[in-house]
Amino acid sequence: MDIAQLSQWFVGLEERLSERQNVIGRELLKELRKRIGFLLEVGLEYLSLHRSVRTLSGGESQRIRLATQIGTQLVGVLYIMDEPSIGLHQRDNERLIKALQHLRDIGNSVIVVEHDKDMIMNADHVLDIGPGAGIHGGHIVAEGSPTEIFKSGSLTSQYLSGERHIELRKKKRKGEGNTLTLKGATGHNLKNVTVKFPLGKLVAVTGVSGSGKSSLIHDTLYPILNQHFFNAKRDPLPYAGIEGLELIDKVIEVDQSPIGRTPRSNPATYTGVFTEIRSLFASLPEAKIRGYGPGRFSFNVKGGRCETCEGAGLRTIEMNFLPDVHVPCETCKGRRYNRETLEVRFKGKSITDVLDLTVEKAVEYFENQPRIIRKIQVLNEVGLGYLTLGQQATTLSGGEAQRVKLATELGKKDTGKTFYILDEPTTGLHFEDIRHLSDVLQKLVDKGNTVLIIEHNLDLIKVADHVIDLGPEGGGGGGTVVAQGTPEQVAKASKGYTGKFLAEELKVSKYAEEKVS
């Protein structure tokens, strides 16, 4: 049973128990009720106790830990949280804000890293950091109460006031009428769902937490496509049938997982442009004379790299009871390559200098190399111009990692019939980033691909071509399609919660657009 039903079971339990049971169980029941109450407070009433932790979304597991923390009733602690509103439908935002205010009221300080409009407006104090990203950022742009931020003129405040906004699409895509139809999905809480996904459009799947979006897309649709195209081994949840598979040629899921777990991965290696750069260096006259191949310029392969640090650039010195100290390698001074390799230069720069270039500068530097330019340009276009080519993958945020992956996809020669699935791509993204993302996604769809996003963020939902709303509630109360159609159509829907919020958002956007024009 889910937690809501569980808490009902506990109501009046004492009457159903004998005297002896009551005496033994008194303390136990008190504890149990308290803990269940906290879970309800953070809006997780649709979960059940036996749900495996691995199947929870990031936001859900974070909120469970939040519930536990509220339960400890500690005072005088500083809580730092990272985007607790992930995975939370607008409807449940209010409950989360109340829970955080509760934490504050019992005597703690709470710092939250957030992008959500409601959270910002309900805070006591806001710190706006920027103005740009990477080296263009790192300053406090504005600070104060939400009203003070509103007037500050920073990028964030412009979005809050509506001065800037994500524009609605003037022309809706009509598409060619092709659809991918999934019939009779019954996994988890899905109630025999049959749904048509229009191809060649930007499709948004929405619904409150636990309404069945992940079950439908991740656990049913994606494994079906994955098995069909790539012979993957994961089985989809039960479904009756699928039609339209011949209209697409592959499925790609783009998420926010890191592009590499070690410092040896970087945007250049991930996008594959580093391979091209190495080939370029190997083709230089100096390299040819010395007999260097592309492998010479890799820091993962013996030969060209500095052997003292094995191409890492850093040496880790273990201090027994102090934390490890990282010092630049004394032989190569952090350059990762040995002196001979560094002597080969292209336009005056060695391979290490190239890795230190930001993407923006690299676009100029490689202007005559079409194969390299093609891959780097997309990185620039998705708004990652501030990253350096050699930036360690571990230092990238989730949103940045996702955009690197999207850029890689854009840079490929595509067939125009790919089905992309993105799960909450706006996680970690500020309004400005969402605008970049929206542009990138629209470009992908313009090429004829289909992009399906699971989303809560109204800014992205409103620019979709087609919206499918699941619900109406979470858990057992969900699992049906309550509304579908263009954003305008869904906004008029009588059932489901997304429609109401979407209508609000559309009204605000139209108003903002009229103000600007």
């Binding site: 809580y79 990272d82 006591d124 940045e400």
Partner: protein, 440 residues
């Protein structure tokens, strides 16, 4: 006229409470009672932060915002959290710290007004398949305890409530219900089993008992006594025959305890006149079928403990098994082309010799697509058959090796836990403890 003397001090409302506290504290000169109102950060330079100095009010809900990559997480987590964590860890002994792996000192000039920090990040805590919402919120632990201590047991066979009695309770019951009656105290040793039990009767005689009750009939123990080997029997030892009297409680108690010892916690009493029996047990016992449970402990209700977990899946809820589809994923391929998945990859040693043999083998079966091989042949392969002996090792064909295909795959898998090329399938199973429905 009575004048009400009211207090001149205004009631303390939540709004003025902090101010009041501050004034009181200031008056008392206790600076510590008034919290440092700000967390002060000076010169943060972690990652892309440009020597940031900022004052963050304490006791408030503060939001950091900014575009992706602007430095919010660097300030929040890599500076403030790291410093708070580091300072807290400094309070531990150096020995304790060596286990925790110290955090590096963040690149910041000074931070003041910091409390102990707790961070709640998004990253999933554990990938442990045994973690559930219940276990990480500890609700599961409390529920287990509730069930173990207050719940009542019901038999999974009949649904009847289980009873359990202590020796005292048994004796009191007998004294109450059988007072002044003749009673035979019995200890059950065999229940519904076949056999001649010659040795059992000898053992009972050696213990000093004279009579037994076999299939309802009281018999004297004779040497070389035995029962029909092919029939099912119930055998009880006659511990004592007595008349129940409250004065003679001592004898009754002795017999009851004796009976419970020999009957392994169970006993019967027989009324010789009516021939009716009554069953007693120290354990939770279903009176009709005799199914007994161990005493419930919190472990019994945990799927992560061997006492409570389902024996087939060990409490994971899923089992992986080898199916025909997983060993032969693509029936159009013949064996020599890698039709048998676990043998297809040359990385698996032991099987590679088989695949090389198959190319040498002249049997045409190996060149045909797998699906056209007769079903009976495959059926023979998938069941466990011992290797057929051949005259010389050289003559040993793939056929005999194939006969043990599925079991050998399973054996290899359980040894190495490595999944072969397309892997195995898993079927979801209900996760349930073997004990019955227990309701509070």
């Amino acid at each position: 006229m009575a004048k009400k003397i009211s207090a001149s001090v205004a009631p303390v409302t939540p709004e003025i409470a902090p101010q009041l506290a501050a004034t009181v504290a200031a008056a008392n000169g206790h600076a510590a009672d008034v919290e440092a109102p700000f967390i002060e950060v000076y010169g943060a330079r972690e990652h892309n932060l440009k020597n940031v100095s900022v004052q963050i009010p304490r006791g408030k809900l503060v939001v950091f915002t900014g575009i992706s990559g602007s430095g919010k997480s660097s300030l929040a987590f890599d500076t403030i959290y790291a410093e708070g964590q580091r300072r807290y860890m400094e309070t531990f002994s150096a020995y304790a710290r060596s286990f925790m792996g110290g955090l590096e000192r963040p690149d910041v000039d000074k931070i003041e007004g910091l409390s102990p920090v707790i961070s709640i990040e998004q990253k999933t805590t554990s990938r442990n398949p045994r973690s559930t919402v219940g276990t990480i919120t500890e609700i599961y632990d409390f529920l287990r305890l509730l069930y173990a201590r207050t719940a009542e047991a019901f038999s999974y066979a009949t649904g009847a409530k289980m009873i359990r009695q202590s020796d005292e309770q048994i004796i009191n019951y007998i004294l109450k219900h059988f007072n002044e009656k003749k009673l035979v105290v019995l200890a059950p040793v065999v229940k519904g089993r076949k056999g001649h039990y010659r040795e059992l009767f000898q053992q009972i005689a050696k213990l000093g008992f004279a009579k037994v009750r076999v299939d309802g009939e009281l018999l004297d123990l004779t040497p070389k006594m035995q029962v029909d080997r092919y029939k099912i029997h119930d055998i009880e030892i006659v511990i004592d025959r007595l008349v129940v009297k409250t004065e003679d409680r001592f004898r009754l108690s002795g017999s009851v305890q004796n009976a419970l010892t020999h009957g392994k916690g169970t006993m019967l009493v027989l009324d010789p006149d009516t021939k009716k029996t009554q069953f007693f047990s120290r354990f939770l016992m279903d009176p009709t079928t005799g199914i007994a449970y161990d005493d419930p402990a919190p472990n019994t209700f945990s799927f992560n403990s061997p006492y409570g977990a389902c024996p087939t899946c060990n409490g994971l809820g899923e089992v992986q098994q080898i199916t025909e589809d997983s060993v032969l994923p693509d029936k159009k391929l013949s064996i020599s082309r890698g039709g048998i998945a676990p043998w297809a990859s040359t990385a698996t040693s032991g099987f590679s010799s088989s695949s090389s043999l198959s190319s040498k083998s002249r049997s045409s079966a190996f060149l045909r697509p797998s699906k056209s091989c007769p079903k009976t042949w495959w059926n023979a392969c998938s069941t466990a058959c011992p290797r057929t002996k051949t005259r010389t090792p050289k003559r040993q064909t793939i056929r005999s090796r194939l006969k043990a295909l599925f079991p050998s795959c399973a054996a290899r898998w359980s040894l190495t836990r490595k999944t072969f090329a397309p892997g195995f399938r898993s079927t979801p199973r209900l996760r349930s403890a073997p004990s019955a429905v227990v309701t509070a």
